[in-house]
């Protein structure tokens, strides 16, 4: 079905509705279509003709913004161009990208535009395979791509054969094959993007444009050398010069690094002289990766114990991949704390403590070191033969305080294995835990097989 052929069939000065034109063409056997099909063709042709599009000047301005604007302008231009179909011409995409038509149908549509609209509509309605694919694409494939993990596969399966139809549509407008291929390519990715984003707003364009800045080299940031750093360096170097003889024998690695950096600035005129800092991934806002519930649960564990628990969660097979990545990042962040064994999880994150929770020991409970709020000195409990022992608070896997563990010098091993004595929160002896593995509470009396260390090891 050639557009040029159709155009010749349109009576000169045609001003009536598309439906009458479709009937006129059907009467001349341009295509064989039932009454219902003719109505559908006319309806689609009307939609194509009246589809809203940006005027050329506005589209040109927006494209200018897209190419030379800042990230915000780029995002806004992308969103506006995309939603108005400025680069998905209706004669390429067909009804799949039909925009809501304007209320009044363009009465001055030229013959070529009208003929093309009818040709596309007729092809979509009368070719059975194509109509079925359109129905699939707007139905099951659309749902699949938006909601199912492997939905993209289903979408591609239905969509790929239609891409060539877009090129055929463009060819019917008389464009070059290469241009037709490029338009079809643009239309294909645009339609898939529309389907993927579903009802998502303009946030995706904003996020996309902003995140693209991460791909840019950050050399520019490193090149900025602030003046106070240089002054401080000059003072440091002057001080070093005074003790020049000792520098090369006694300097530490940081001094060497600073001197090297200064030499690089002097020779190459670029670089920075600053103290090493942890990367931004380990910044002050590490806690933003954690839900409030998890924070409350682990607030009183020591940072090292919390890191261990988070690692366990991260490696759990039922943990979602994104969550796994967040937990691992947070665990890594905690391990970089200079006093990882002494501060609580919440202190390491620099946020207020959550309310303390308490539980009782239970046999087989895995315990983690915890930090009592406001208390730094160890608790004293009564060990074997009434001897005072220093205890450490421990918490259950759910983060609640359960009691204390102590290393009692008078009963420090059982069957040759080192043990901890376990005390409840009120200071009573509860049982023990092996000290050569992660502490797991076991019920038992101190006298049941406890032995003191051998005085002499037989060789």
């Amino acid at each position: 079905m050639k557009t040029s052929g159709l155009k010749r069939l349109i009576p000169v000065g045609w001003k009536r509705a598309a439906r009458e034109l479709v009937d006129h063409m059907a009467a001349r056997h341009v295509f064989e279509a039932s009454e219902v099909q003719r109505a559908e063709i006319a309806s689609r042709a009307d939609t194509f003709v009246s589809s809203s599009r940006l005027d050329d000047e506005t589209a040109s301005d927006l494209k200018f913004d897209l190419f030379v604007g800042d990230w915000n302008s780029r995002a806004k231009a992308s969103a506006r161009l995309s939603s108005h179909g400025a680069w998905t011409p209706w004669y390429v995409v067909g009804s799949l990208a039909s925009q809501p038509g304007s209320s009044d149908i363009d009465a001055h549509a030229d013959d070529a535009r009208l003929a093309t609209a009818i040709a596309i509509a007729a092809r979509e309605v009368l070719l059975p395979g194509m109509a079925a694919r359109h129905a699939q694409l707007l139905g099951p494939a659309l749902s699949a791509i938006q909601h199912e993990k492997n939905g993209i596969g289903l979408w591609d399966k239905v969509f790929c054969p239609l891409v060539s139809e877009f090129a055929v549509n463009a060819r019917s407008r008389g464009v070059h094959r290469r241009t037709a291929a490029m338009r079809a390519l643009a239309a294909a990715v645009h339609l898939k993007g529309l389907a993927l984003s579903g009802s998502g707003g303009d946030d995706v364009f904003l996020l996309g444009s902003a995140a693209a800045s991460m791909l840019r080299s950050r050399v520019g940031v490193a090149e900025v050398v602030d003046e106070p750093s240089l002054k401080k360096l000059a003072q440091d170097v002057a001080a070093f010069n005074d003790v020049r003889t000792g520098i090369w024998d006694e300097n530490d690695s940081e001094t060497s690094r600073l001197l090297g950096a200064a030499a690089a600035v002097a020779v190459f005129g670029r670089g920075s002289i600053t103290k090493l800092k942890p990367s931004l991934n380990h910044g002050e806002n590490g806690h933003t990766h954690l839900s409030f519930e998890k924070f409350g649960r682990y607030a009183h564990l020591t940072a090292s114990a919390a890191a261990e628990v988070l690692d366990d969660e991260a490696t759990h097979p039922r943990t979602h991949a994104d969550e796994r990545s967040r937990l691992a990042t947070l665990a890594d962040f905690l391990r970089h704390h200079p006093a990882v064994h002494a501060v609580s999880f919440s202190e390491a994150l620099g946020i207020n403590d959550a309310e303390e929770r308490r539980e009782d020991f239970s046999p087989g409970m895995k315990v983690y070191r915890a930090v009592m709020a406001g208390r730094r000195r160890p608790i004293i409990c009564e060990g074997k033969n009434g001897r005072k022992v220093r205890c450490r608070a421990v918490a259950s896997p759910s983060g609640a305080f359960v009691g204390y563990l102590a290393f009692d010098a008078l009963s420090r091993e059982l069957g040759g294995r080192p043990i901890y004595a376990a005390y409840t929160l009120n200071g009573d002896r509860y049982g023990y835990a092996w000290a050569d593995e992660h502490p797991v509470i076991r019920r038992g009396e101190p006298e049941q097989g406890f032995k003191t260390a051998l005085e002499r090891i037989q060789v």
Binding site: K63, L66, F67, V68, W71, N72, A75, A77, S78, L81, S82, W87, T88, C160, V163, S164, A167, R171, R177, R178, T179, A180, A181, M182, R183, A184, L185, A186, A188, V189, H190, G193, L196, S197, G200, D203, V204, F205, L206, L207, G208, S209, A210, A211, A212, S213, M214, L215, R216, G220, V221, L280, N281, N285, G286, T288, H289, D322, S325, R326
Partner: protein, 119 residues
């Protein structure tokens, strides 16, 4: 499948630079300038959308709210890069993954179209 082009770290807009390289890989390097610019614009906007969709899955609602506030006050690109570093796990890897996936999709479509149109 042809190799994907690299991402230029020094371009004003790395996404646009990537799309231009992608079009060259797809065999449209010598297309008429106006038509090429039209397609570059279309694909650049689409690539932005794909990156945005990838990040939407990873960013938490609180951070998204904060991001909107930053967008409103016109935060700088370096500030945003730092924001994504901290607030979105593996943000840069996600961006690159989204671009790779988009690039593969474009090259596949282009190869199919070139075959069908005997280019």
């Amino acid at each position: 499948m042809e190799d994907l082009p690299g991402v230029s770290a020094f371009a004003h807009d790395p996404v646009r630079a990537y799309v231009e390289a992608l079009l060259s890989k797809a065999g449209f390097a010598h297309a008429p300038e106006a038509e090429r610019a039209e397609t570059v614009a279309a694909l650049t906007a689409e690539a932005q959308r794909r990156i945005g969709l990838e990040l939407t899955e990873a960013i938490d609602p609180y951070s998204l709210k904060e991001f909107r506030a930053m967008a409103e006050v016109g935060a700088g690109e370096d500030e945003l890069a730092a924001f994504f570093d901290v607030r979105v796990p593996d943000a840069e890897a996600r961006v690159r993954r989204a671009l790779d996936s988009f690039g593969r999709e474009c090259l596949e479509h282009a190869a199919r179209l070139r075959g069908q149109l005997h280019l």
